[in-house]
């Protein structure tokens, strides 16, 4: 589905949750952006990397049954929209939980996991998923 560089170049964002913060308005973004959509040219050169803590709450979630090939072995799986404490909302899976533990408003935190693999001999893709905070 892609060359190694496509995944490798996003490693620090996906492995360590590095977003960006606008030096002009102080809003934090994830995924990272080169231009702040509020400050436009005022933000150029002022977008700084920022480490996110990976803690937040579930805005909404779904249980995916019809999955693309990369995720077939994981189905059914939870996908959620999570509002991080630093501000941005991000999309990710929720894992290691029973169905009744997941709900809107529940606190979650990121864990580092295998996201998918490209067949038996292909590259293995890693990134963030979420677990419910007990």
């Amino acid at each position: 589905m892609g060359e190694l560089s496509r995944f490798w170049r996003e490693s620090e964002h996906r492995y360590r949750l590095i977003g960006t913060k606008c030096g002009n308005c102080s809003v934090t973004y994830f995924p990272p952006r080169d231009i702040c959509p509020k400050c436009h040219r005022e933000s150029i050169g002022k977008m700084k990397p920022v480490q996110l803590q990976g803690k937040g709450e579930i805005i909404s979630y779904t249980i995916v049954h019809d999955a693309p090939p990369r995720f077939i072995r994981q189905r059914p799986y939870f996908m959620a929209l999570i509002k991080l404490d630093e501000g941005p909302t991000i999309t990710g899976q929720i894992v290691d939980c029973d169905a009744d533990e997941v709900d809107i408003g529940k606190r979650v935190r990121t864990v580092f996991r295998k996201v998918a693999e490209e067949g038996k001999s292909g590259i293995i893709e890693y990134g963030y998923k979420f677990v419910v905070d007990q």
Binding site: P37, S60, Y61, T62, H65, R70, Y77, L81, T89, E125
Partner: protein
Amino acid sequence: MILNKAYIIGAGETKYGELWEKSLRELAVEAGLKAVENAGIFSKEIEVLYGSNSLAGTINGQENIGSLISDFSGIAENNIPAIRIEASTASGGAAVRQAYLAVKSGEYDVVMVGGVEKMTDIYGSEIIDLTSSVLDREWEAFLGATPAALAAMSARKYMKDFNVPREALSMMSVNDHLNASRNPHAQYRNKITLEQAVNATPVAEPLNLMDCSPVSDGAAAVIVASEKYVKKNGIEGVEILSSAASQDYLAVHSRKSIYRLDSTVLAAREALGKAKLKLDNISFSEIHDSYSIYGLMELEDLGFAEKGKAKDLVYEEIKLNGRIPVNPSGGLKAKGNPFGATGVGQFVEAYTQLKGKAGERQVKSPEHALLHNMGGTGSTSVVHILGGVA
């Protein structure tokens, strides 16, 4: 700023469905030919061709769609510009909008728009990955999100915040199937009951199979012409009164709300304003209900109801003979959703309806139609208002 008026003078479409025996190019040519015949023009009169398509590059391994359509429509030696317009599932509306602007500017008098998608050339779950390319690949799809999953997350939050019963979502699909049962071009012509819709196989909870538009093959085409051309040739066209398009963040997680489609709010407001019309003047609408929840959100964001109140419209008002008929064609759920053709197909339906030729699904004496075509999960919305027969 008085500019030319633009009219739809002909329209045609293939049947939508799983059309195993027909290729991408055959579908495009079939629809194009029907539109040309319907308009009563000669293909040599066409000055520009806009091809609308979303996924042929990955599904069919074919890019350069403008040339493909032009070539196999037999007009390669006319040497006219032939360009593909891509805005994911809003490609069709976006392409007609380009045709409208081309005529309105005075540059061209006769423009053809052909939308096509051939989705069944991929089997099984692979199509879910390919349709996920209309999302943010790196920050939504990479992590396991699908178009249905994102719609489902909007649905769950929407239902909770506004206390909307699951049945209200299903009613969009029940209405689509009922209307499609009267449309010979529709993919699914079977009526469904509310009970069947509610209890279908889950796709991405709370959405199930009956909340989701299908995988479709199909093509649709329209001919857009200037006022000058229409008058000179004594043609009765349907005027495109206004056209508006708006954009939002690509990914759902970046938007201000997960159940308000700002691109739709803005495009609808602009289109109605430019046409100097209110929703009361709209006789029927074709809306982009790729997922049932979007149907409800769109009814609100187009202005038919306050946020959370579309549930009051879906049982009676949206019916073919209701106060605000929605999707007389059968909509995306039942007529089908061949991405690049979907938005153009809305024009085929509106043209047919406004001409009074929709047969047993005819909306009673329609004057104006509102067409809403949306890209992806709402990153693009294109709204057109079509007028009475000129």
